[in-house]
């Protein structure tokens, strides 16, 4: 795109500037650091000029919003048409507690729901399992059966509000319960919209809420892909997530690479299961972290869109434009928040959220200032939501699309992210794909190494964190924290026992034996069987135990 002669001139004059102006300047005033690098330790130049972009072609590399390769955004209108969805992740205590928080958030201008389940649900145990002791309602909402889901979404019309659910190991079971609630509300399946995370591969890599080993887990996922293509066409079937990989300590490039490699594995699995790519790929979406390094994050989102578009078109030969579009949710980085001087977290979150918006996100969760210590209070979550609203309504950044497009720095960083991520993807391909790479412990090791490296940089003062290893003050925590009522466990256990007593025991048993048989027949789709079981108030733990028997369980290889 650029005139090569002019670029050569720029390169020559840049060198002259470097030698005659910069070098003497740096001798006079020593650089603050030995090395300037991103939070992922990617080295950054002092100045970016157009000369390294000699191969840059505007229309091929960036194009127009809503057009291939979507570097600038997936919709032609972007935030002029509609702002991103403001979607705060919420869940604690009982279904009643969380239902009240949902209604509060909707009343404050939030536009979508996002459900956090407690750990027993995430791991496929009922609240009365011995494995659940001490954990009920602590880190999310307790859901054991359809009864809890009915209360959770009471008074929330499922044809109007879309819900995202962070659920992976037991995604199919919780989704089945959600559909059963919609049915009870009189909402037909084809009108139900929302998202299940359903990204089991990143569970093995980072988040670790798994139940079954990789192969049977992939079978459940392809069952969901096929079922939704036919029955729930507005449902986002997998939210392919880099968020947790990053939280576990990966670099930005690793987050991008491993997440896209997971996406490749799901698309391949769908195709191998005989589903035409354009029938399921448009409902795949992504979920990225918004970490502290502002430009690195923006470059990451832009690179992700371009990579996915090219992979879907060139590698998987998808024909539908919607299969090429990488739509994504963003959450600000929990791991960057500090327990020290927690009010500072409001500022961190604002910067991170801004990078998500400048990177063209479709929906956003902003963390609350108190989340290094507890689940957020209503006051803290309101500030977090208001942060998004201030970015949207006051800052002016939503007026134009991809305002940083064309920045010499951002374009070069976008290219670096893409090139380095593609190197990882080639390596994973050589290993036989992501499932094989996970079995070898490859992404797990890479992430653990990066986490350790970063911690060493922080401990050595080479990466500075305000309030932690710089600008410290001795005062304690000045903010109020949310306490979970410890009676939640007792009440929840009682409710689940009551559910088992009240249901039609014969029908419940029949559903479980059908599920068991279905799991042994690879060509049976498990989704309809799970929806039947949910309707009969079969509990999550019962469904998962049945499948544990036939599919086996996954345990942590415990590498460090």
């Amino acid at each position: 795109m650029y005139d090569r002669k002019k670029l050569a001139g720029i390169a020559a004059r840049r060198k002259k500037w470097h030698d005659e102006e910069l070098a003497p300047g740096l001798r006079k005033s020593q650089p603050r650091l030995d090395r300037f690098s991103t939070v992922s330790d990617e080295e950054i130049d002092i100045l970016y000029t157009p000369d390294p972009l000699s191969n840059f072609e505007y229309e091929e590399d960036l194009g127009y919003p809503g057009q291939y390769p979507y570097t600038r955004g997936v919709q032609p209108t972007m935030y002029r048409g509609r702002l991103w969805t403001m979607r705060q992740f919420a869940g604690f205590g009982s279904a009643e507690d969380t239902n009240a928080r949902f209604k509060f958030l909707l009343s404050q201008g939030q536009t979508g729901l996002s459900t956090a389940f407690h750990f027993p649900t995430l791991m496929g145990y009922d609240s009365d399992s011995p494995r659940a002791r001490g954990e009920v309602g602590m880190c999310g909402v307790a859901v054991d059966s359809l009864k809890d889901m009915e209360i959770l979404f009471d008074g929330i019309p499922l044809d109007k509000v879309t819900t995202s659910m962070t659920i992976n190991g037991p995604a199919a079971m919780i989704f089945a319960m959600y559909l059963a609630v919609a049915e009870k509300q009189g909402v037909p399946f084809h009108k139900v919209g929302g998202t299940i995370q359903n990204d089991i591969l990143k569970e093995y890599i980072a988040q670790h809420s798994w139940i079954f080993p990789p192969e049977p887990s992939m079978r459940i996922i392809t069952d969901i892909l096929a079922y939704c293509a036919d029955n729930v066409p507005r449902w986002n079937t997998i939210s392919i997530s880099g968020y947790h990989i990053r939280e576990a300590g990966s670099t930005a490039v690793q987050e991008l690479a491993f997440t896209i490699a997971d996406g490749i594995a799901y698309v391949q699995a769908g195709i191998d299961a005989g589903i035409p790519v354009d029938k399921f790929a448009p409902r795949l979406s992504y979920f990225f972290n918004a970490h502290m390094d502002f430009f690195e994050e923006i470059a990451k989102y832009r690179a992700a869109r371009r990579m996915w578009a090219r992979i879907m078109r060139e590698r998987f030969h998808a024909k539908d434009e919607n299969s090429w579009k990488l739509r994504f949710h963003t959450q600000t980085a929990g791991c960057t928040l500090t327990a020290q001087q927690p009010m500072n977290n409001v500022v961190r979150v604002a910067l991170q959220a801004l990078s998500g918006v400048l990177g063209g996100t479709q929906s956003l969760h902003t963390n609350s200032m108190d989340e290094t210590m507890a689940l957020p209070t209503e006051q803290a979550v309101t500030v977090a939501l208001r942060t998004q609203q201030i970015i949207a309504e006051e800052s002016g950044v939503a007026n134009t699309i991809d305002p940083l497009g064309g920045s010499f720095f951002v374009e070069q960083l976008t290219n670096v992210m893409e090139e380095k991520a593609m190197e990882y993807i080639r390596k994973i391909d050589e290993m036989g794909g992501m499932v094989a790479a996970i079995k070898q412990g490859y992404p797990q090791r890479e992430v653990a190494d990066a986490a350790f490296h970063f911690q060493r940089l922080v401990d050595a003062g080479k990466k500075r964190i305000v309030g932690l290893n710089a600008y410290r003050s001795e005062e304690g925590t000045p903010i109020p924290l949310l306490k979970i009522d410890d009676r939640v466990e007792k009440r929840q256990v009682a409710r689940t026992k009551e559910v088992r007593r009240m249901r039609d025991a014969k029908k419940a048993r029949a559903c479980l034996s059908a599920l068991k048989e279905g799991s042994l027949a690879p060509d049976v789709n498990l989704m309809p069987l799970l929806v039947d079981a949910a309707r009969e108030y079969v509990t999550l733990g019962e469904m998962c135990d049945t499948l544990r028997e036939t599919m086996g369980v996954y345990t942590d290889p415990a590498m460090f």
Partner: protein, 148 residues
């Protein structure tokens, strides 16, 4: 952290018959192992013999691993909010197994208000987010000695 033995902190005492053995454990259902793995590596690099349990351990599994491996200390990482159940339960099981002299410490997302209660019940030390690794390594070297 000043103690009478404070000066021999840097290296384990020479007369120790063997290295300090520490079990790094992840009780409960939360999957956050970033901290546990970093601590396990740092302790190993500092010459401690480290046994890492992996995720999703019950209190019984942790205590049984501690007995089998004959450890001198147990470090628990808990980010699920279940610390008020898990720490006391593990202490109770240790006492039942006559392993009450094993030093139990931990860290994670633990609100300040809960820490004094845990210490009173017998947890030796609770580290909060943002603690430099070296501080934990120093603590282990200073506080934990081979049990026999």
């Amino acid at each position: 952290m000043a103690t009478a033995k404070g000066k021999s902190v840097a290296a384990p005492p020479k007369k120790a018959a063997r290295k300090i053995r520490v079990l790094v454990g992840k009780p409960g259902l939360d999957g956050h192992d970033r901290g546990a793995k970093i601590i396990a590596r740092a302790l190993r690099d500092a010459g401690v013999e480290v046994i890492y349990t992996g995720l999703h351990q019950t209190p019984e599994m942790i205590v049984s691993a501690a007995a089998q491996e004959d450890v001198d200390g147990i470090g628990l990482s808990i980010l699920s909010g279940a610390h008020n159940y898990l720490f006391p339960r593990i202490l109770q099981l240790l006492r039942e197994k006559k392993m009450g002299d094993v030093v139990l410490f931990g860290g994670g997302i633990i609100p300040d208000d809960d820490i004094p209660k845990l210490l009173k019940k017998g947890v030796d030390r609770v580290f909060t987010p943002g603690t430099p690794i070296q501080q934990i390594v120093d603590y282990v070297n200073e506080r934990i000695r081979p049990r026999k």
